[in-house]
C-alpha cells in the first residue's frame, strides 16, 4: 500500500492499542510520544508511581487494612463519578452533588430516627436525589439554563435548604445496626460500600459500552444536533442522565451518613469538585462525547491515594487540596499533549 492510504490505518492502530497494547502499534515517533497516547496506561503508571513513593515513606501503606480503607474511602467518590462521567459525556455538568450529599444525609438520618425504618430513610434519600436530578434536568432542557450555572444555583439552593431543614447535625438516635453497616460493614473481608460500588460500576460499564442508551449518550454529547436529526430525544436523555447522576450522589450521601453516624448539614463541601477533577483526570472531556469509566476509576483512585498518603505520612492535611489542584493542571496538560501527538501521527 502507498503512504497515502496507510495514514488512517495508523490511526486505527492507536485506537486499538488503547484496548490491547501491543508492540505492533509502536512504529513511528519516540517511545515517549507513543506512551503519551494511551491515556489509561499513563494513569495506571501514575497510580503505581505514587503508591510506590508513599510506601517508601511509610510501611503502613501496603497493609490490607489501609488498602481496604482507601477503597472504602474512594467508593463514595467513584459511585458519584459514574454518574458524573455519564453526564459529562452528554456534554453537561452538575456542581450541586456536594450539597446534595449533605441534604440527603440529614434527611435520611432524620427519617430513620422518626420511623425506625432503614428502608424508608434510604428511600427518602434516594427520592430526594431523583427529584433534584429531575429539576436540574428540567432547568437545563426546558428553561435552557446552561448546566454550569443552573447547578451552581442548585448547589446554593440545596445548601441553604439543608440549613433551613436542620441547623444541627441529625444525630443517630435509632441505633439500627443495619443502617450502620451500609457504610461500615463487611461482606466477607470486603467493605460493603466497595461492594455497592463494584456492582454499580460493572452494571453501568455494560450500559455505557454495550447498549443503545450508552451509544446515544455519546452521540448526544458528541454532536447534539446530529443526535437530534437521528431521531434521538436529546432532552429526555439529558434529563434521565441528570436524574441518574443525582441518584448516584444520593447513594454516596447515604453511605457517608452511615459512616459518620450523623447527618451533617455542612458535609460534602468540595465533594463535587473532587469528583469532577477525578473524572477529568481520567480523560473525560468537558466538551462532551468522550470519556471512559475506566479512566474515571483510575483518576479518582489517584486522588484518593494521594489523600491517603498525606494522612499516613502525617503531612499537613490542607496539602490535599493543593496537590489535587496541581494534578488537575498536569492532567489537562498531558491530555492536550496527547491530542496533539495523536493528530501529528495521523496527519503525517
Amino acid at each position: 500500500m502507498h503512504s497515502a492510504s496507510s495514514i488512517p490505518e495508523e490511526a486505527e492502530c492507536i485506537k486499538w492499542s488503547l484496548a490491547v497494547p501491543s508492540t505492533d502499534s509502536i512504529s513511528k515517533g519516540s517511545f515517549l510520544t507513543k506512551l503519551v497516547l494511551f491515556n489509561e496506561i499513563i494513569l495506571v503508571a501514575v497510580l503505581v508511581v505514587i503508591s510506590a513513593a508513599i510506601s517508601i515513606g511509610t510501611s503502613q501503606f501496603y497493609s490490607t487494612t489501609n488498602i481496604l480503607n482507601i477503597l472504602r474511602d474512594s467508593s463514595m467518590a467513584i459511585i458519584a463519578g459514574i454518574g458524573m462521567t455519564m453526564l459529562l459525556i452528554t456534554g453537561e455538568v452538575d456542581l450541586s452533588i456536594g450539597s446534595l450529599v449533605a441534604f440527603v444525609g440529614v434527611v435520611t438520618m432524620d427519617i430513620i430516627n422518626k420511623t425506625n425504618s432503614v428502608f424508608l430513610g434510604v428511600l427518602a434519600g434516594l427520592s430526594l436525589g431523583a427529584l433534584t436530578g429531575l429539576i436540574n434536568g428540567l432547568v437545563r432542557t426546558k428553561l435552557k439554563v446552561n448546566s454550569l450555572i443552573g447547578t451552581i444555583a442548585m448547589m446554593m439552593i440545596l445548601r441553604g435548604s439543608v440549613y433551613l431543614y436542620k441547623l444541627e447535625a441529625a444525630q443517630n438516635y435509632h441505633q439500627l445496626s443495619s443502617f450502620y453497616s451500609i457504610g461500615n460493614g463487611y461482606l466477607g473481608f470486603m467493605p460493603i460500600p466497595v461492594i455497592i460500588m463494584v456492582i454499580l460500576y460493572v452494571v453501568f460499564l455494560i450500559i455505557l459500552y454495550r447498549t443503545v442508551l450508552g451509544r446515544r449518550l455519546y452521540a448526544t454529547g458528541g454532536n447534539e444536533i446530529a443526535a437530534k436529526i437521528s431521531g434521538i430525544k436529546v432532552d429526555n436523555l439529558k434529563i434521565l442522565t441528570f436524574v441518574a447522576n443525582s441518584v448516584f450522589a444520593a447513594i454516596s450521601g447515604i453511605i457517608l451518613v452511615s459512616r459518620m453516624n450523623s447527618g451533617q448539614p455542612n458535609a460534602g463541601v468540595g465533594f463535587e469538585l473532587m469528583v469532577i477533577s477525578g473524572v477529568i483526570l481520567g480523560g473525560t472531556s468537558l466538551g462532551g462525547g468522550e470519556g471512559t469509566l475506566v479512566g474515571t476509576l483510575v483518576g479518582l483512585l489517584i486522588l484518593r491515594v494521594i489523600n491517603n498518603g498525606i494522612i499516613i505520612l502525617r503531612w499537613n492535611q490542607d496539602l490535599q487540596i493543593v496537590i489535587s489542584g496541581l494534578i488537575i493542571i498536569l492532567a489537562v496538560f498531558i491530555d492536550n499533549k496527547r491530542k496533539v501527538a495523536r493528530s501529528k501521527i495521523i496527519t503525517k
Binding site: 488512517p8 454495550r210 444536533i225 446530529a226 437530534k228 431521531g231
Partner: protein, 506 residues
C-alpha cells in the same frame, strides 16, 4: 500595464486555492474612482474569496494588487483598513453594546493630550459624518437598538471616518426593505460624488442595472466578463453567470412516478417561510433552488421538525406529521441530510459504523443491547456498496474525506428505510468525482421508490437531478418547472424575484 489615473484598485491575476478547490483562478478586476462596480456570480463563483483577500482575511496565493497605482501587500485586516479599503460584510461587524460613535471610531478613538479619549470630539465628528449620509440618529445610541439598515449606515459612516477610498459592499440589500434600499442607493450616489470607488457584490441583477456603472461576472473562480452596465443586458449577464451546457452531465435513469408521498401545505415559519406548498411523489426527485437567504435550509429544517413551524401542515402517505419533533419525523420515515455535514450531521469522534447505525440502533439491538456483529455486517454492506473509502468500520469518521463522510451520512438514512429524504446541498464542498457518485446515489434513492427533495444552490445540479423544480425567493415559492420546461434563465428570474412562474396544476 500603464498606470491609469482613474483606477483606485487594480486586481491582477489573483489566485487562491483551498484544499480541493481552486476558489480563484487568475482573476482581474479594475475599480475606478467614483465608480460603482458590480461583482456578480452564482454561489461558489469566488466573490466572497476575493472580498476576503481584499479585506486581509485571506492571503492571495498568486497575483498582484495595485492600489492607487502602487503594488500593495494586504496581509491583515489592519493593512486593508490602512490603505483605505473598507468592507461592509453581510454579517455586520459592529459591537452591539457600544454606541454608534464608539463603533465609528473603534479603530482610532480621537485622543486628548493626556491620552484619554476625547468624547466630545468623538461624538461631534460622528454627528457630522452621520449628517453627511442623511442618517438621523443620535451618535450616543447603542447599536443593538438600530435596525439592520441603520447599522449598515453606521458601517458606511465607519468607512468615512477612515477616509476610505474603496468601499466593498457584500450583498448590502439582502436584509433591507424597498424604502431602505432607496436610501442606500442615495448614499451610494453621494459616495460616488466624493470619488470613492464602490465594489458592489450582489446576485440581484435589477440592482446592477439600477445603481452600477460597470459589472464583472465570476464563475467557478474565473473571470467571465467585465463590461459597462450601459452596454449589457440582464439576459447577457444571466448567460454569463450560468453559461454551460449541463443536461448531459447528470443522466437520470429513473422517471416513473408513483403516488404522492410527501404533501406540504401552506407551511410558514416566523422568520422566513411564507405559505410554502408542494408535493413529492414516490420515485420523484424534486429540486428546490434558491439564492442565499431564499429559505431553502429553513424549509428543510421546518419540514424535518428542527425548527418551529408557525402554520401549515405536512403529511407523509396521507398521515399527518407531528410538527417540531425530529424523533417523530424519523419514525414516520423522514430523513434529513444536513448542509452542515460536520456541524450537524456527523458525530466526529464516533466510528464509521457507529455513525451509519445511529438512527437505526433499535433495528440492530435486542432488549436495549446492541448486537455488535449485526452492526458490523450491516454497516459493512453500505461501505461496500457505496465504496466508502475507509481502512475499517472502526475508523473515526473525522479522518474520512468530505465525499466519503457524505456517503456515510447517506448510508445512515438508507439503512433506516425511509419514505422521504431531504438532501440539503448534498454536494457542497466535495470534489468532482465524489459529486458524480452522490448524484448517482440520489438517482438510486429515487429508483428505490423514495420521495427525494434536493435543496441546492448549484444550477447544473438542479437541472441534472430534478424531475420537478421549485424555485424559492425570500421564503416564498416563486417558480415551478417540470424537467422538460425548465430553463436556467427562467429559474434565475424566479430566484431573484423578478418574475413568477407558477403552474395551475399541482
Amino acid at each position: 500595464m500603464a498606470p491609469d489615473h482613474d483606477t483606485v484598485l487594480d486586481v491582477q491575476r489573483i489566485s487562491k486555492e483551498f484544499p480541493g478547490v481552486k476558489a480563484l483562478d487568475a482573476v482581474d478586476l479594475k475599480l475606478n474612482k467614483g465608480e460603482v462596480h458590480a461583482l456578480i456570480g452564482e454561489n461558489g463563483a469566488g466573490k466572497s474569496t476575493l472580498i476576503k483577500i481584499l479585506a486581509g482575511v485571506y492571503y492571495k496565493d498568486d497575483g498582484e494588487i495595485l492600489f492607487d497605482g502602487d503594488p500593495v501587500d494586504i496581509a491583515t485586516p489592519a493593512d486593508s483598513l490602512k490603505l483605505g479599503i473598507k468592507v461592509v460584510f453581510q454579517e455586520l461587524s459592529l459591537i452591539p453594546h457600544m454606541t454608534v460613535g464608539e463603533n465609528v471610531f473603534l479603530e482610532s478613538f480621537p485622543l486628548k493630550k493626556n491620552k484619554s479619549i476625547d468624547w466630545d470630539a468623538l461624538y461631534a465628528e460622528t454627528k457630522d459624518i452621520l449628517d453627511s449620509i442623511g442618517l438621523d440618529i443620535s451618535p450616543k445610541t447603542k447599536i443593538y437598538k438600530l435596525t439592520v439598515s441603520q447599522q449598515q449606515m453606521v458601517e458606511i459612516a465607519r468607512a468615512l471616518s477612515h477616509e476610505a477610498k474603496v468601499i466593498i459592499m457584500d450583498e448590502p440589500t439582502s436584509a433591507l426593505t424597498p424604502n431602505e434600499v432607496e436610501h442606500l442607493f442615495k448614499v451610494i450616489r453621494q459616495l460616488k460624488e466624493r470619488g470613492i470607488g464602490i465594489l458592489y457584490v450582489t446576485h440581484k441583477l435589477e440592482e446592477v442595472m439600477a445603481i452600477c456603472d460597470a459589472v464583472t461576472v465570476f464563475r467557478d473562480g474565473k473571470l467571465i466578463s467585465s463590461r459597462n452596465v450601459s452596454e449589457t443586458s440582464t439576459d447577457e449577464l444571466v448567460t454569463d453567470m450560468v453559461g454551460r451546457s449541463i443536461k448531459t452531465l447528470f443522466p437520470r435513469t429513473h422517471t416513473g412516478r408513483g403516488d404522492v408521498i410527501l404533501n406540504v401545505r401552506s407551511l410558514s415559519t416566523e422568520k422566513k417561510l411564507k405559505e410554502v406548498s408542494f408535493q413529492v411523489r414516490s420515485g420523484e426527485v424534486v429540486g428546490i433552488f434558491g439564492l442565499m437567504g431564499a429559505g431553502r435550509t429553513e424549509l428543510a429544517k421546518a419540514l424535518f421538525g428542527l425548527d418551529a413551524v408557525q402554520a401549515g401542515n405536512i403529511s407523509i402517505e396521507g398521515r399527518e406529521l407531528k410538527l417540531g419533533s425530529t424523533s417523530q419525523s424519523t419514525k414516520m420515515g423522514l430523513g434529513y441530510l444536513t448542509e452542515d455535514r460536520k456541524g450537524e450531521g456527523l458525530v466526529l469522534q464516533m466510528s464509521v459504523a457507529q455513525n451509519i447505525t445511529l438512527p437505526s440502533l433499535e433495528d440492530i439491538s435486542s432488549a436495549g443491547f446492541i448486537k455488535r456483529k449485526e452492526e458490523s455486517i450491516r454497516s459493512q454492506e453500505f461501505v461496500d456498496v457505496f465504496r466508502i473509502k475507509t481502512p475499517s468500520l472502526r475508523q473515526k469518521v473525522m479522518y474520512l474525506s468530505g465525499g466519503n463522510q457524505q456517503k456515510v451520512l447517506i448510508a445512515r438514512w438508507l439503512m433506516k428505510k425511509l419514505k422521504v429524504i431531504i438532501l440539503d446541498e448534498p454536494t457542497r464542498g466535495i470534489d468532482v468525482g465524489a459529486k458524480a457518485e452522490i448524484h448517482r446515489l440520489i438517482d438510486e434513492l429515487a429508483s428505490q421508490g423514495l420521495a427525494v427533495v434536493v435543496m441546492t444552490s448549484e444550477m447544473p445540479e438542479l437541472l441534472g437531478v430534478s424531475d420537478h423544480i421549485i424555485v424559492m425567493c425570500e421564503g416564498r415559492i416563486t417558480g415551478e418547472f417540470d424537467r422538460e420546461s425548465a430553463a436556467m434563465e427562467k429559474i434565475l428570474e424566479a430566484a431573484i424575484g423578478q418574475k413568477e412562474y407558477r403552474h395551475a396544476e399541482q
